[in-house]
Amino acid sequence: MIGPVLGVLFDGLAYGMLLFLLSVGLSVTLGMMNFVNLAHCSFAMLGGYVTVTLMNQLGWPFLATLPGAFLAAAGVSVVLERTLYRRLYRASDLDQVLLTIGLAFISVAAAAYIYGTVLQPIQMPPYLRGAVTVLGVRFGVYRLFLVGVALVIALILVAALEYTRFGARVRAAVDNQRMARGLGIDVDGAFAITFALGSGLAGLGGALAIEIIGLDPSFAFTYLVYVLIVVSVGGLGSIGGSFAAASLIGVSDVAGKYYVPELGAFLIYLVMVAVLMWRPAGLLGRR
């Protein structure tokens, strides 16, 4: 009786960790600059395709491609941030939405042009396949790996944000951007670095997502909705909030699809509406 429930909870948690990796960067950058970046999942998709290319064309081992996915997404995001994004920091929401939707459209078309619209297959190494059984519950090895990676990254992020000088600048900018500027903090510079890190993490998430949810050009829009839900439920600029929201959304999505299939796809929206009604700024958001 308890076995299947635990299994669903675990799968949901693994899925939630994936959402956490995909969304944490957007949450922090949104909290800092209020910049609505709807192309965030395009960076994730880029990471995914980098991994696919490195593995299938160049024969790299899976684990070695992950830093590549991170660096590629971070690098491209820096270029875009310096050339396009930075001009619109003080522009209206509408301009930001339009620019980033445009970039997302371009990325989808480019992915379809280069890779076609089929799902990209990758072959996991043997040590990440299979499952271990503990107390009668099967845990997929890859999902365990995913949860482990996400937990490590969450710890690193929290530590970096709480205990380093750079983290203090970022927190100051999230709390009150104008005040931080007034105190001489280089908010734009801190933002550029945060943006690159966040996009890199999305790229990593995209690479890790291939095994669980697959990768095709529609990724940039399909998962954008999930990421935005996580960000708004968790609250802007909060790593803990993103973590909690991603777990909640992941578990409710998997559990919903498992137990009430006819309602499955709607359950996360209901959760979102319920949370936003209860706390309009998100679980751990302050604004």
Partner: protein
Amino acid sequence: MTGTPRTLVGPLAWAKAEARWRPVEAVFWVATLLPFVLVPSYLVLASQIAITALFALSLDLILGYAGIVSLGHAAFFGLGAYAAGIVSKSGWGEPLSGLVVAAVAAGSVGFATSFVIARFRHLALIMITLGLGVLLHEAANKAHWLTGGADGLQGVRTWPLLAYFRFDLYGYTAYAYSLVVLFVVFLAARRMTNSPFGLALRGIRENATRMPAIGAPSRAHIRRVYTMAAVIAGVAGALLAQTTETVALEVLSFQRSAELLVMLVLGGAGRLYGGLVGAIIFMVARDRFSGINPQYWYFWIGMLLVAVVMLLPNGILGGLARIRAERRRAA
């Protein structure tokens, strides 16, 4: 919005001056009749353009005037299309009453959601409109028994308009019908935007905090204009369902909402004609390039969006107005 005010006048006098018909507007509306004589083989496309223009007009009311960024406006278009399609499929194909049914369906959902819309701005608003659109798309996909799901709604039959004009293959009736509806709604929208209510909406767009401070019931205004926009979008959707006699699931898609934004911004938001001009350019371009794989078509839409945001912040009409203003200053 057009030009700079040369003398200080009261707001009502200003609105009245804005409301005066200009010759170029008359030229525009007469020109909409040209397809009947010049390109009669393209009337089907012309009717699609008129419908899209009506849809863009509805978004302009909330985006261009009240400053509400919606990423899910296709929800109301789709609601109208399905409402009209389902009524027609179940045996009542009279077009005008179909429009009314669609308007009521889209308007009541619009009114219900407007209470949520009016409470939020910025990211939360974008999220909520997006979520609402995706939710409705998913619901229509699931409700196969009602909507036909991904196969689309088949078997829609539209009776002759006014029990006399048949919907022909060449689109004569379809274009005339769509154009008349577009014109009537446009007149109403034009009247509305130049009324005190329209001025209050522009105030909300310019400064959402100050409007309540000077005693304007902003939320009530937003609720009202959002419901109006939903009604108009529903009518546009119904026109599409009636003239094409089918409803595809695509009417509710996110892409449709995004394309609509593209058109409106390309033409210029907040000036009524912006949506119409944008719809014409967009639809004609898409027809010309229809040979291109739709996947790559989105590449060019993306490029266009980036270019418009970077180079032409107020759209084509905004750019023209700026050129005109500069020339006037030079003279």
